[in-house]
Symmetry: C2
Subunit: 235 residues, 2 copies
C-alpha cells in the first residue's frame, strides 16, 4: 500500500521541527523501527551529518532509529531495503542533483510504489511532483534534469505564499510565477501553504491541515481548495 506524506514545511511559525505533524507521523510510521533520512538538500548549507543529527531526536519520540543515506556504502540497496524514507527540506536543485548523482530517483519511486512509507517536507515535497519546475529555490547547482519522482501526477509549490499586502517590492508574486510556468508546462500546480500537507494512500490523495490550498491549472483561474479535498484525480 502506497503511503506518502507531502508537507509544505518542516516547521510552522512559532513551532519546533515537525511538531505539528507528530501525531500524523506516529500513525504514518506506526510499524516502522528504522528510517532512512535523505539530507541532500542541506538547508543553509549544513553538512549531511549535521542535518541527520538534527532530525534524530524528533524520530526518537516515535521510537524510530534514523540513519542518513550518506552513511550507506550502497545507497540504492539501502533504499531498496528501507522500512521508511524521509527527505528533508533545503535547496531543491542541490537535492535533485544528488539524487541523480547517486541514481536514486527510480529506487525511491519503486520503494514507495511497493509500500515503503515516505515523508517529504519542502524540497523533499517538491520532488514528489512530476518536475521540480515550481520550486522556490535558487538554482545554485545545475542538475542533469528537472524531472522528479512523480509520486503524484501534478507539481507542488511548497511554502505557498499569498501576495503580501502593501509590499513595495516589484519582484513577481508566487501566483505570477506559477502562471508563467503554465505557458510552458501543462500539469496542475498545487500551492501548499505552511501547515498543510497531502496524504497519499494508494491512489487516494487528500489535503490535510487547517488551511486551504491554492490550485493552479493551465488556462483556468486559480481556485481555493478546502482542507479535506480529494485530489486523487488531479493531473
Amino acid at each position: 500500500m502506497k503511503k506518502v506524506i507531502i508537507a509544505s514545511t518542516s516547521t510552522v511559525f512559532g513551532g519546533t521541527y515537525l511538531d505539528y505533524l507528530l501525531p500524523t507521523l506516529a500513525e504514518h510510521f506506526a510499524t516502522v523501527s528504522n528510517l532512512i533520512f535523505i539530507p541532500f538538500a542541506r538547508p543553509g548549507g549544513i553538512t549531511h551529518e549535521e542535518y541527520t543529527e538534527k532530525i534524530k531526536p524528533v524520530f526518537q519520540q516515535l521510537n524510530i532509529n534514523v540513519k542518513g543515506i550518506h552513511e550507506f556504502e550502497n545507497p540504492i540497496e539501502a533504499i531498496t531495503n528501507a522500512e521508511a524514507i524521509f527527505t528533508g527540506g533545503g535547496n531543491t536543485f542541490v537535492l535533485v542533483d544528488m539524487l541523480y548523482k547517486y541514481n536514486l530517483l527510480d529506487a525511491i519511486q519503486h520503494a514507495v510504489e511497493n509500500g515503503v512509507p515516505y515523508l517529504g517536507t519542502s524540497a523533499g515535497s517538491n520532488i514528489c511532483g512530476l518536475t521540480m519546475g515550481t520550486t522556490n529555490d535558487m538554482p545554485i547547482v545545475y542538475p542533469p534534469s528537472f524531472r522528479t519522482l512523480g509520486l503524484v501526477s501534478f507539481n507542488l509549490n511548497p511554502h505557498y505564499l499569498d501576495p503580501i499586502e502593501g509590499l513595495e517590492h516589484m519582484g513577481e508574486t508566487r501566483e505570477t510565477r506559477i502562471k508563467e510556468f503554465h505557458h510552458y508546462n501543462p500539469q496542475s500546480v498545487l500551492g501548499l501553504r505552511e501547515g498543510s500537507w497531502l496524504e497519499v494512500v494508494d491512489s487516494k490523495i487528500t489535503l490535510k491541515g487547517n488551511l486551504s490550498a491554492r490550485l493552479f491549472q493551465q488556462g483556468k483561474a486559480p481556485v481555493e481548495l478546502e482542507t479535506g479535498s480529494d485530489l486523487s484525480d488531479l493531473r
Copy 2:
C-alpha cells in the same frame, strides 16, 4: 569602449517603465538611432510582439527606433550589426534557454566587448553575471546551461530583498539563499536593490542610484556598499 548598464528592475514602486533611468539612458544611448530588444524573458508570459510594443514608447522619447530580435531572420547577424542592445526582464530560465537555442550568448558578449552599448533590467541583468545561479526566478524551463554573459566577473541578484520584518513565512530569506550558493560557487554576488544599477565603462564598474547594495562573498560576512562604490576589482 565597453558600455553596460545593469539595472535591478525596469520599474520602481510608484513609477512607470524605465522612468527613473531615462536621464541615464539618454546619455548611455546618446549616439544610438536603432536598438535591438531581446524580449525572450516574457514577463507574465506575454508574447515577444507584445513585449516589444510595450517598450517602444519609452525609447521613442529618446528618438530611438526599437526592433525585437525575434523579427530578424538571422538573429546572430542582427546582434553582430547592432547599434545597441536591451534585454528586458521576466523569467531568467526562459531567457537563457532561448539565448542558447539561438546561440546568441557569444554574439552578445562579443558585441558588448566591441563597444555596443547594452542595457539589462532584472533577468536581462542576471545574465550579465558569470552564471544565472543567483536568479530569483522559478525554473519553468530547463536551459542547456546556467552559464551566462560574464560581462562582469561576479554574479548578480537583482530585486534584492531585505528580510521582511514580522513576516511569519518560513521560506528562506534572500540572504540565506545566497549563503547556500556560496557552498557551491566561489564568485561574489551583488544584491542590487530596486532603483540601483551598475554602470560599466570599459573595465570600470560603479554602483549607481540612491541605494546601497549588499555584497556577498564566500566565507565572509555580507557588507553594504554605498552608491558610487567602485566594483571594478570584484571577483
